[in-house]
Point group: C2
Chain length 113, copies 2
DNA sequence: CTTCATGCGTAGCTACGCTACTTGTCGAAC
DNA sequence: GTTCGACAAGTAGCGTAGCTACGCATGAAG
């Protein structure tokens, strides 16, 4: 899949992954890959800046911890993030419906009665 | 709807609109608006460069004509464009499925058996 | 000791949609 | 008769945001 098609939907995906529990950056990448059955294999240069964006926006909060001598930054959804996710979900439904009108098979060319 | 979410899907929409018949730029904008029930109201600065992109790629062909003293550039889908549209449709299905796994309501957090 | 997986991060590039603008005809309003 | 809005095309420059390609560090595997 063309990953750049994600444009504008990545934040929503990240929030959705974190909804199920706090994770650190690397684990988020793996979670995305796993849940999408390998389709979404995002580079760190995409995820880390996105997480910092979300943190600046107050949608996630991060805490550092050391595991096996490795520093981990674990992110968890905030209340604001939860609300944002709800909004993103609604937005996704809209988007899906609108674009689907043009691209879904069997979508009516001229909406019939 | 946040229009910038279109990122990467606009070409597909344009091809889909032209699939039903040749149109000129201004009419394409109106067709998008009509078929999306007002949701997609794209500015000319978005559509015209996109059409030129598609023409450079060989997916559409344009012909000039004069109607009521006004110059019109009418675009129509080429064979290549038709194939591209089919590909875009497949890509959209993929995309929809993948993102839907995270954002559709009732999408299973841990894909059950 | 070198390679690979884990783990974080940034700099710079590029794609692409958007804002704001220009040019021009035509019909309607004033 | 001039101005204003719909039609019709187009460009320049901007901002967003994902991607490529790096750099740094640890621990296990070979």
């Amino acid at each position: 899949m063309k990953a750049q098609a994600l444009h504008g939907h990545l934040d929503a995906l990240l929030l959705a992954v974190l909804e199920q529990g706090a994770l650190h950056g690397y684990a988020i990448i793996e979670a995305l890959r796993a849940r999408s059955e390998g389709t979404l294999d995002l580079p760190t240069g995409t995820i880390y800046p996105a997480l910092r964006r979300l943190e600046r926006a107050g949608h996630v909060a991060s805490t550092w911890s050391t595991v096996n001598g490795r520093e981990r930054r674990t992110y968890q959804l905030t209340d604001s993030g939860q609300r944002a996710l709800a909004g993103e979900r609604a937005g996704w439904q809209d988007f899906q419906l609108t674009v689907g009108r043009f691209l879904d098979p069997g979508s009516p060319p001229t909406t019939p009665a």
